[in-house]
């Protein structure tokens, strides 16, 4: 005997599913619709199986299911990795790596590498523009007193203090224009390779106890 769901309960179920839908918003719409449909079916069937669907009973059903935001995050990690594996978008790949950083130490190291790679890449890319705007201040500065190469802007006072001389001149422009995109592309490819390596698309690998001939 199934138990009809009253309008107050229906409203609470709808509110739960609305939260779920909202938390899933990064996924494609048809995928969201399927997930919500499936979870709705779960709630309705659980609700109909109770003798009388009291407020407390519905609370128990929803609590057993878990937070909609937690469920959504489990779906999204998977979907994000699947999309990043096939993507060349640095933003998507970096976002996925940041999520990976929260999951493991290896992910954290990969994320650190990625952030550094993109920062270097963007700095290389910005240096030709800055060189044209501030030709006297921007360059590869080498100081005799230290083992420090400073790729960036130094004020006249800093240059005098460090006895720094600029060694690249206008070569900075072509070097920056080549090294910038190259660093960005390499970082993206290495991160994507790391993601593919850490989250392989499942293939059935025979284990030591596999195989009926053994």
């Amino acid at each position: 005997m199934t138990n009809p769901i009253d309008s107050a309960s229906q409203e609470r179920i709808d509110a739960y599913l609305k939260r779920l839908r909202h938390a899933l918003r990064a996924l494609p719409p048809d995928e969201i619709a399927e997930i919500v449909r499936e979870i709705r079916g779960h709630i309705v069937e659980r609700a109909e199986a109770t003798d009388s669907l009291s407020e407390a009973a519905l609370t128990r059903i929803l609590a057993a299911l878990g937070n909609p935001e937690d469920i959504a995050s489990l779906y999204q990690s998977r979907a994000l990795v699947a999309r990043a594996r096939a993507s060349t978008s640095p933003l998507l790949i970096l976002m996925t790596t940041i999520r990976w950083a929260g999951m493991s130490l290896v992910g954290f190291v990969a994320c650190l590498f990625g952030v550094l790679g993109y920062v270097f890449g963007l700095s290389f890319l910005a240096s030709p523009i800055l060189k044209m705007l501030y030709p006297d201040r921007v360059g590869l500065w080498v100081g005799p007193n230290y083992w420090n190469l400073s790729l960036g802007a130094l004020s006249a006072a800093e240059r005098a203090r460090d006895h720094a001389t600029e060694v690249l001149g206008w070569w900075l422009v072509p070097i920056g224009l080549v090294a910038g995109p190259l660093t960005l592309i390499l970082t993206t490819l290495i991160l994507r390779w790391a993601l593919r390596f850490a989250f392989p698309k499942t293939s059935v690998r025979p284990g030591p106890t596999d195989g009926s001939s053994q």
Partner: protein
């Protein structure tokens, strides 16, 4: 102490969840709630029910299970899952590994428990 044990148990359950879900599908197709009920009765894997669905989505994405919607007599559609040939193969491999692992763990733990009695 109690918290640590609860945390350890939660991690163990999470680790076994995939094998357990695949194992429930060995004999035939089931929909989400049936899998949960099966896990409740035949194993100690009481996890948040909502975590089953993302795992099923991942298994489907990996080609280990396939899903189909069916308009049931219940008034709402159900999404049935069944193992693909690759899924059956994977389930068998995981079951053999699990069995070996559990046998070794039991052999390690049993003398200790007998002594502590």
């Amino acid at each position: 102490m109690v918290d640590q044990i609860a945390n350890w148990e939660a991690q163990i359950r999470k680790g076994w969840l995939e094998v357990a879900i695949l194992a429930t599908l060995w004999r035939g197709r089931l929909y989400g709630l049936e899998i949960i009920r099966e896990l409740e009765t035949s194993s100690d894997l009481a996890v948040a029910e909502g975590t089953i669905y993302p795992v099923l989505a991942r298994l489907r994405n990996d080609g280990l299970v396939e899903a189909e919607w069916e308009e049931g007599t219940s008034g709402h559609p159900r999404r049935y899952y069944k193992l693909t040939p690759a899924g059956r193969k994977r389930t068998l491999v995981l079951a053999r590994h699990s069995n070996l692992f559990l046998e070794k763990m039991t052999a390690l733990i049993k003398p200790l428990l007998a002594e502590a009695k």
